[in-house]
């Protein structure tokens, strides 16, 4: 029997009291989403919060102020998210902790580095925020690899993370199927939503006997297609994984959590509505494979993939060149304007730092 006045229980209560203390707990604080009669401002963006956890909470190694002034009316998009190269830079020192995973970035820049592609996006009513440069140290913890097969309605996306030292097993809300493999242990995972297995977003985790784990996430693939592709994979010599099916083209290989530049655009209430990023090594595919459906679009003249996430937000991904990938994240409240927002993205010539 656990003592409800155990000190650790008291500390648990105190901690959660403190976390909740800042929450908006007024009865009239928020207006229901998706009610046809509601005209009040909407607060939302679970996925933005998740993505912003990375951008805002982490690794502000270089911070460059960009235009803060409010922009024109909603009817006349005038805002450019591109940072200006002439404004003063402010630097936030990242404290050294001695930990192995601290952020290393000491250079001051007023823009993206030379050779890094950057883009602008025009959205009336939003204010562009800081350009955040995130760069972890050079330690490679996990490799990633992304593939594309087919096109249009038959397109399949596959993303793998290659990890070491993970214990076989599954945490999370999945319907799990044990797979028969000769090497180690493998599971097919079907995400659940309110207890019911979802019909997309299938995953497969293969824990090899040598301690290497291949964690596959898929988009547009059936259970059988994923199982066939993943269990037919073998270690490569020049690449982490080689798939047996030649229909899959490896489009990006890199490290988990690579270097990135990100700029958020916020509404007058300070809520991030759009986020523009360039990331190395195909990192944006990690978001794209979470989409229910993915279609072809064009971004700044380049072929791109655009998908809608479970919360209604839209993520668009494209190969920006030079090993960099672009990502445009549009929050659910602007989803209906996504066509125009995507079309407004333009490449920006930056002088670099």
């Amino acid at each position: 029997m656990i003592d409800v006045h155990d000190p650790v229980i008291d500390r648990l209560r105190s901690a959660l009291d403190e976390v909740a203390a800042g929450a908006d707990l007024h009865e009239d604080g928020l207006i229901p989403l998706r009610t046809a009669t509601s005209t009040a401002p909407r607060r939302w963006l679970g996925a933005v919060a998740a993505i912003m956890l990375v951008a805002a909470g982490a690794t502000v190694a270089l911070v460059v102020r960009s235009a803060d002034e409010p922009v024109g009316s909603d009817d006349v998009p005038t805002q450019s998210a591109a940072p200006t190269a002439t404004e003063a830079a402010a630097v936030t020192e990242v404290p050294s902790t001695g930990a192995v995973d601290t952020v290393l970035s000491t250079e001051v820049s007023v823009s993206v580095a030379s050779g890094v592609p950057w883009f602008s996006v025009s959205i009336g009513g939003l204010t562009s925020g800081d350009l955040v440069h995130r760069q972890l140290d050079d330690r490679v913890e996990q490799l990633t690899q992304s593939w594309v097969a087919g096109n249009g309605e038959t397109r399949m996306l596959l993303r793998a993370t290659i990890a070491q030292g993970l214990q076989p097993g599954v945490e999370g809300d999945y319907t799990v199927e044990d797979l028969n493999v000769d090497d180690g242990t493998a599971y097919f995972l079907q995400p659940n939503d309110n207890g019911a297995p979802m019909d997309f977003g299938f995953e497969l985790r293969w824990f090899h006997a040598d301690g290497t784990a291949w964690l596959f996430r898929s988009q547009g693939m059936s259970r059988d297609e994923l199982v066939t592709a993943a269990l037919g994979a073998v270690p490569g010599s020049g690449v982490p994984i080689v798939l047996a099916d030649p229909a899959f083209s490896s489009v990006a290989i890199g490290i988990d959590q690579p270097e990135s530049y990100t700029q958020a655009l916020a509404d007058p209430n300070g809520q991030t509505q759009v986020q523009l990023s360039v990331m190395r090594d195909g990192e944006p595919f990690d978001n794209l494979v979470s989409a229910a459906n993915v279609v072809d679009v064009t971004v700044a003249g380049a072929q791109a993939y655009s998908g809608q996430l479970a919360n209604g937000s839209i993520v668009t991904v494209w190969d920006a060149g030079g090993g960099w990938w672009g990502q445009l994240y549009i929050g659910a409240s602007l989803a209906r304007a996504a066509d125009g927002i995507i079309e407004s993205v333009q490449a920006v010539a930056m002088t670099g730092a």
Binding site: L16, L30, L53, V94, V103, D173, N311, I314, A338
Partner: protein, 167 residues
């Protein structure tokens, strides 16, 4: 179709009247946010997840015998999905934020860190039991397990927290 992507459409089938939805929303929003705070340990994320859960429940309101129970399950499941989807991002956060000051007291930061080490069901069981004041039966219904299993989860969670948290 917007941005090349089909948008979710609202249909009239099963859609509750706005007054009923608003009443349910206002009656349960505070609880939903508190439950989500317990499950994710981040108030901003909790508010968004609670908002999503309330909207999901509201869309099915007329067909539910026990909307509050359904809301409990929905919050628990949405938070589980958040943990699953953003496990990597959270690990990244923990790494890069190591040693940096946080907005919480040290005791709270330590407890949040300890909670983050727990498997999701253990975390849900211990926080919902002792902070949100759910019964074992309510927790079991939301997690899809028996009340006896809930008590085991709570016991294991408290044991782990005692190890993780310095007295």
């Amino acid at each position: 179709v917007v941005g090349g992507v089909k948008l979710p459409m609202m249909t009239s089938t099963g859609k509750p009247s706005a007054p009923a939805f608003d009443e349910f929303y206002r009656a349960h929003r505070i609880d939903a946010v508190r439950w989500a705070v317990a499950l994710v340990g981040d108030r901003a994320v909790a508010e968004e997840l609670a908002q999503d859960a309330l909207a999901a429940v509201g869309a099915r309101l007329p067909s539910l015998d026990n909307p509050t129970g359904y809301l409990r399950r929905t919050v628990v499941n949405r938070c589980a999905s958040w943990h699953r989807s953003h496990a990597r991002e959270r690990r990244r956060m923990h790494r890069v934020a190591a040693g940096e000051p946080t907005s919480y007291t040290q005791a709270t930061s330590e407890m949040l860190g300890a909670l983050a080490t727990l498997p999701y069901k253990q975390r849900a069981a211990v926080t919902l039991r002792f902070w949100a004041d759910w019964t074992d039966e309510q927790i079991g219904e939301a997690l899809g397990c028996a009340p006896t299993t809930v008590r085991v989860l709570v016991h294991r969670a408290v044991a782990t927290l005692k190890v993780e948290i310095e007295p």
